[in-house]
């Protein structure tokens, strides 16, 4: 269980998260929607320990990310995929994927490489294992980014606007992989602007607005007139997003 309890986060005077509560159970796909600056990315960054909380608690399978002693274990259980890929530029696709399994999980190198190659093949990059990030397209880089996170066999996959830096064609190739992961039962917390896609793959959709979690509903209910749409801010957001 991934639990976010009454989390508060401010940068100086700007309150970014204002008492957020959220629970993700194993096997669930939860999408986070909200306009830019609503705190979505910061929430992800709090969960993986990149930002310190001002108040509240986040636990990943009971490991508290605010406790230095627990953080390493919490991080082993969650994998993050970033908007701008953040691949290691001096390493090949395969090396990007095998570094952490070998160094953190102490997996034998040959085993990690075999698994890395299998992961790359599963995202259609079987022949690009030895390419460097600079030799890959954006969509290919993000697929490597997903493989790098999956190689650690995380219980929770955190996805932070992973298609925002991609053109529609590349977005489609990355979303196809995420859809497959969702079907396979991967637990995901998915920050996105791809509303229709979120609707298709999510069990639940939550809506963040100015650091507060306004709505937390099963996906279909989120789009129902008496569900999420009953919230004026959600209705406004959805109609604006659909117009764009």
């Amino acid at each position: 269980m991934l639990k976010v309890e009454n989390v508060k986060k401010a940068f100086g005077d700007v309150i970014v998260l204002d008492g957020v509560n959220l629970t993700v159970s194993p096997g669930e796909v939860v999408s986070i929607l909200g306009s830019s600056g609503s705190g979505k990315s910061t929430l992800i960054r709090c969960i993986n320990g990149l930002e310190k909380l001002n108040d509240g608690r986040i636990t990943v399978d009971d490991f508290d990310v605010s406790k230095p002693r627990d953080l390493a274990e919490a991080r082993k259980r969650s994998g993050t995929v970033f908007q701008l890929f953040n691949l290691y530029p001096h390493m090949t696709a395969l090396q990007n994927i095998t570094l952490a399994p070998v160094e953190v999980l102490k997996r034998p190198k040959a085993e990690a490489e075999a698994e890395g190659r299998a992961l790359l093949a599963s995202v259609g990059l079987g022949d690009r294992a030895d390419a460097y990030p600079s030799q890959l397209s954006g969509g290919q880089r993000q697929r490597v980014g997903i493989c790098r996170a999956l190689a650690m066999k995380p219980r929770y996959l955190l996805l932070d606007e992973v298609t925002s830096a991609l053109d529609p064609e590349m977005t489609a190739e990355v979303l196809a992989i995420l859809a497959k992961l969702a079907t396979d039962g991967t637990t995901m917390l998915f920050v996105t602007h791809e509303i229709e896609f979120a609707r298709q793959i999510s069990d639940r959709i939550v809506f963040l607005e100015k650091g507060k979690l306004l709505v937390d509903l099963p996906a279909e209910q989120f789009f129902a007139p008496d569900g999420g749409l009953a919230q004026p801010r959600v209705a406004q957001f959805l109609s604006k997003m659909r117009k764009d």
């Binding site: 993986n48 991080r75 993050t80 290691y88 570094l99 953190v104």
Partner: protein, 223 residues
């Protein structure tokens, strides 16, 4: 006056010995200054104010003192308080310390240029700090630092000629001996000019190759 390089023939071996000593001193000092530069670069990004202050003080201090004065202090000054160091070791230490100040700048610039997102990706994957530094930060920093570090090395080779003043018979030291034996400074120093130029040219070629190798992902792919 007639120029006659052949009079140097008997001294070729002697000069080569000096060149070898120059190479040895510089090789050891290169390792010393890069290690020192790395430690100081890390210290300069430390969260502890006094560690940062100490590192900045070291860099500022040794960049603002003439090398000759540093050298004399180590070789002629320290024995006064009972610290005796032989000429070779003194040369290595002095070159390492002054080279380290410049190397730390080059390495620090390389570290600061790294996209923070890359380091965050390494952190969230659970990699320990030591691994992040040795496998991610340092190799990426070196991609940009290697050229300025090359300049530090070339400067070090040039500066090493000053070591002849503390009785170390490296290339320049031996050349001075040859001059005093042959009374042919023109020939001797022409050769010396060429040898230093060749030595530093070779180093800059090696640095270019290293730079290319470190940035090999930027090469067009060979299919």
């Amino acid at each position: 006056m007639k120029i006659d390089l052949t009079i140097l023939a008997p001294y070729v071996g002697f000069l080569a010995e000096g060149a070898l000593l120059t190479a040895e001193v510089c090789a050891v000092a290169l390792v010393g200054s890069v290690i020192l530069g790395m430690l100081v670069a890390i210290a300069r990004t430390s969260q502890l104010a006094w560690v940062r202050g100490l590192a900045f003080a070291y860099v500022d201090l040794f960049r603002n003192i003439p090398f000759l004065v540093q050298l004399f202090f180590f070789y002629y000054g320290l024995p006064e308080i009972g610290i005796y160091i032989d000429a070779f070791t003194t040369g290595v230490i002095a070159l390492s310390i002054s080279g380290g100040a410049y190397a730390s700048d080059a390495i620090r610039a390389g570290i600061l240029a790294i996209d923070n997102g890359i380091i965050e990706a390494a952190e969230v994957s659970g990699l320990p700090r030591r691994v992040i530094f040795t496998r991610i930060v340092l190799p990426i920093a070196l991609r940009t630092s290697v050229r300025p570090l090359g300049s530090v090395l070339i400067n070090m080779i040039l500066t090493s000629s000053i070591l002849s003043t503390i009785t170390l018979n490296e290339l320049t030291g031996n050349a001075r001996i040859v001059t005093s034996e042959t009374f042919r400074p023109f020939e001797v120093y022409v050769v010396l000019l060429l040898v230093y130029a060749a030595l530093t040219y070779l180093v800059s070629i090696a640095i270019s190759l290293l730079h290319r190798w470190l940035n090999r992902d930027m090469q067009p792919e060979v299919n």
